[in-house]
Amino acid sequence: MSASDESTNLLEVRGLTKIFGTLTACDHIDLTIAKGEIHALLGENGAGKSTLVKMLFGSLEPHSGEISWKGETVRINSPHAARRLGIGMVFQHFSLFEALTAAENIALSLDDKTPIATTAAKARALSHSYGLPLDPHSLVGDLSVGERQRIEIIRCLLQTPELIILDEPTSVLTPQEADKLFETLERLKSEGKSILYISHRLEEVKRICDRATVLRHGKVVGHCDPRKETAASLARMMVGNEIQAIVRAPVENAGKAETLLEIRGLDRTPATPFSIPLRDINLSVRAGEVIGIAGVAGNGQGELFEAVSGEVLQKQAGTVRIRGKDAGRLGISARRKLGAAFVPEERLGHGAAPRMKLSENLLLSRHATDAKAYLGLAGVIRNSSLASAAQRIISVMDVRKSAPDPEAASLSGGNLQKFIIGRELDRQPSLMVVNQPTWGVDAGAAARIRQALIELARKGSAVLVISQDLDELFEISDAIAVMHNGELSSPLPRAEATFEKIGLLMGGAEPGHVELPVEAA
């Protein structure tokens, strides 16, 4: 399977193993990366991709196995050591100080005492030569996520690495920004640099990667040439079996059903210097339909969710209407009593209290709506009815867990999300608002969650889904609106929406300009 026969591989990993307690996160991983190739590391969440690259980058120490770099066995015991060898990494979650400029952030990560002006000049030169325009003197807090990623990439390139590890780089980019990133990667490859590209997006892996290593449950399940595979065959390797296909029945009496959620002229001033103000948001969601809200992270989706859920109140009662009733001045419990249900983006610490049991977390969102079932006289909690309801949700949603009623924090992200979604579905809400329903959830569970949302809508509820995952929105939505810089476009019906149109709106194009690239595509 080796791409280069005569020259030694840049990086060779043999039998690398990492054990956390009873979990073998990486089990005898073998991997070779040749000079000048883009190598994909594929796998579902929890397959061991992050653990593997953390060992390569020196932030975790392997239990056993060896790593050789240019034919010599090495021990990488710190990120510093990794950088010295010539391994650079761009993390999925950026580590930038928002109150500092780009150049200052870059200077902080360099080991030497180069003056900031020199660093800024170098960064500017580098950014131009790689087609990643960046003003080194701009404040990180003012930059878009795509621009922040450029800082991370330039910071990495300044250390002239020979192997660059990119962790899910496109998850925060618009399709157009992603295209630019791919050009940069091609350019780096032509200069003989190697890239380890971690992703679960199969189309882009097929497009830019020379070879792929697929992980499942901590083991390598195959090496392949992604260009010779189909997305379906790659997915099968990742998941181990076929993923349930989403069925989307047509909406009955579309456009005539009752409006269950109406947002009219919603404005919100930013609560902190780095949060996004909401400007004149209008949206209505009718019974029976799923409306998707696309957008790059940090464009006000979190702020919108808080405003709709009632965690933050509006100035006027009529700004948010739920089932025809003014709800703008009602708190989250009162909005729930009107029939609404909410699932926030963060699971631990927002949708669920980490150190509380699942049955207690059931009470968290349902104590107001189901007071009769779960509370007795003087607010005494009925533990037995809570426990049986929790068990019902666990079995309906197929939540995998280690104890009968475990703490929320002990569940994997995907299983906890299944429980949180199931907790709300169990109520048969007439309005469901979900932020990032399947972020970090494995493909099988994600399909189940998406199907459940569609079915809820088809039974006569209104569903609003905020997501950064365009594939997901195209799969489940009847119309897609785009959030950019605190503003919401009007929803495009699913039949008219294309990746290009939505992508342009995500990048901030005027709605009027949307028609242009359709011919090009």
């Binding site: 927002h350 209290a353 104590h367």
Partner: protein, 365 residues
Amino acid sequence: MRIELVKRPQYSRVFSALSPFIALVLTLIAGAIMFSALGKNPADALYYYFIDPLRETWSLHELAVKAAPLILIAVGLSICYLSNNWNIGAEGQFIIGAIAGSILPVAFPTFQSWIVLPLMMIMGMIGGAAYGAIPAWLKVRFNTNEILTSLMLVYVAQLFLDWLVRGPWRNPQGMNFPETRTFHPYAILPEIWPESGRAHWGFVFALVAAIALWFVLSKTLRGFEIKVLGQSPRAGRFAGFSAGRMVFFAFMLSGALAGLAGISEVSGAIGQLRPVISPGYGFAAIIVAFLGRLNPLGIVAAGLVLALSYLGGEAAQISIGVSDKVVRAFQGMLLFFVLACDTLIHYRIRFAGPAAKAQEAGQNA
């Protein structure tokens, strides 16, 4: 060799239960070392300190007298700490409660009726709650740090009491001593069992409060709300609980209980207001709350232990002639060890031997 703390994957139930006991043992060991450094026989000293006070009926009553305010204050504080509100000012709420409760017997000594005592208790609670509401309001309105404001208000309360008993409320027949007139019989909190000793109804209040709050915390939605808001405020907001209202609830409830402790102490044990009415109950109750694992029933036991440290301090002062400051030293050591031992709940100790060290040296080379 190096000692390392390694985070446990899940918290240890064993150490959660054992930690207070380990802390007690370590405190006794450190106490023995302290006594021998003072030139006393540690065995004798510990005997007079911790065993002797438990041998007589009257001193068991004294134990209840000292434990009553500690338990009352500490169960209120447990609500504060569980909901992540760091009320350090119970001493001040205790004093203001005592002052508010003393208005009737001191300023209106001629008003004598059975209704006076219940009114005094209620006014004491209102006074403490109102004083607790100040740091709560500052926290909610201006986001000030409640640790600082509640602590500083203690000194305000202490000086206010000092001024009262030296100025406007000084006993006209008191020969210029800085104290108020003694309470009339209708204003005295009676003893539970007068034939055997001095323990007053304050101890019963403490037990009732502990059981009631244990029930609220472990069985009701309000208890759930307290814990959720304390553990993850954002999840609490998602649940529809108001963090701001919880700040007021926790501070005013603990203020009210501290106020009740204050007026009970004055009306049950002292019988008048003096410049100093508390040997630091409000601060010692912080230790009680943590030693009792913030569980109201655990706090009853912890309150008795701390009360013993006060009694033993007095006993040791008389029998073996050590300074009364030893009491504070003991309480400080106890809090220190309790907090230190709590580390073992979430961490385990690992001894990194010379082998590991050599290996690391090899890596760094």
